[in-house]
Assembly symmetry: C2
DNA sequence: ATACAATGTTATGTATACAAGAATTGTGAC
DNA sequence: GTCACAATTCTTGTATACATAACATTGTAT
């Protein structure tokens, strides 16, 4: 046990401990602090986080339903493996839902949200100028959040957010390639203009290729990782 | 508290109690035994089911992530309300995913599965002859299961099954109207033949109208319920 | 040396105890 | 009669104790 893996529970908000633990563990899994295949042992985690087993157990149940951990009875939980197949499965679903998002947004987006979206597009273009990957990724997420919220479908929002999280670890991969930056900006603009015009067809097409690009980048990266 | 609502835990399989409780509660919610807005109190349920609070709590957490109960901190859980909006939200997502299912199935279905699908189509037509709603509903589910499994995408399968469950209570509504039975048979046949021909386009269209019909039946029913 | 059995350890499954917050009810004053 | 405030009760949040199943280890016999 190394020194710097004793991550403590920070009393984020006044959330119940199970939620704090849940967020902690989820984050640890997504950034790779807890690696695929690693077992999540309750007593161990309880000591590490300074809480009892109860909130740990409840958090693990939640992670299970999110697909981040796999449970086997009487053996406990382990971090789910990320394979090319599993990523592809997630991306297939996400593509369909992202297309649905822009189609719905097309019909329901308000004037105010359109204005926000325009700003977000410009902010994204500006962030590309800086070349800072983190900043670009954040601008991208902000932009997508506006579209997703514009659907007015909380169920859809929850699902898309959850699926996006599954790929959190690869969030930089598809913006690393700077030759693609202009393409990204263009796709965003196409989506924005389609929403303005209410043209669901072209918006859907743009969203589709947007995910295709993402898929390519992620799959490429996974093959690199597994090839080593 | 009436006599016959003391549903006991039956030791279904050798599942952990949390799963037994989860299945029990889910079923109770879906068939309306536990009504929307009804509070789920841990001690109460624990006594009723003859287990301790621990498995109850874990089951409730799982139900929360499935969207069947709503939790508010320090107040506990209650059965989620079913509104026209919430059903519409679910159906929107399900339509997109059902379309994705047939498109993927188009590319991936095996010869054997196609044979099963053909049989299922015929079994459905036969069940319609009997006029027994329960039998028709089961045949319909069996048919859809074949298509869903043919996608080979476990993630997608899980999501579609979960979304279907949300509408469990209305599963008879869209097959009640016997004037629609011929339409249903025809739609199934269109999907089957599209899969044989590998024609994703027409399969998608059929799946879409299939859900549209379902939506109409469900929304009509909800308006009836709320109008009374 | 290998296979198998017995034993001990470890982790999960379940129950229960205790703490603390929220709602409700009752009492008093205006 | 109504409003405010306090006390009680009910419920959830968390910790811990005990039971049981799985796994590892060790010892013995062949």
């Amino acid at each position: 046990m190394s020194m710097n893996d004793s991550f403590q529970v920070n009393m984020d908000a006044f959330l119940p401990l199970r939620d704090v633990v849940f967020n902690n563990l989820r984050h640890a899994i997504l950034v790779g602090e807890l690696k695929p295949g690693e077992r999540l042992m309750e007593i161990h985690l309880a000591n590490k986080l300074g809480v009892s087993r109860t909130p740990i157990r409840e958090a693990i149940r939640m992670l299970e339903l999110e697909g981040l951990v796999i449970m086997t009875p009487r053996r406990g939980a382990e971090v789910a493996q990320i394979t090319e197949k599993s990523m592809n499965d997630v991306l297939e679903v996400r593509q369909a839902l992202d297309v649905l998002c822009v189609e719905l947004a097309c019909r329901r987006i308000t004037a105010e949200e359109l204005e926000d979206l325009k700003d977000a597009c410009e902010a994204f273009a500006a962030s590309v100028e800086t070349g800072d990957l983190r900043q670009i990724a954040e601008a991208d997420v902000a932009l997508h959040d506006i579209i997703i919220k514009a659907t007015g479908n909380p169920r859809l929002i929850q699902l898309v957010n959850n699926l996006s999280l599954q790929m959190y670890r690869y969030r930089f991969e598809y913006i690393k390639d700077s030759t693609q930056h202009e393409t990204l900006i263009r796709e965003h603009r196409v989506i924005y203009e389609s929403l303005v015009a209410g043209n669901a067809e072209t918006a859907a097409q743009a969203a589709k290729t947007h995910i295709d690009n993402q898929r390519n980048a992620i799959i490429r990266q996974i093959r690199l990782e597994q090839g080593k």
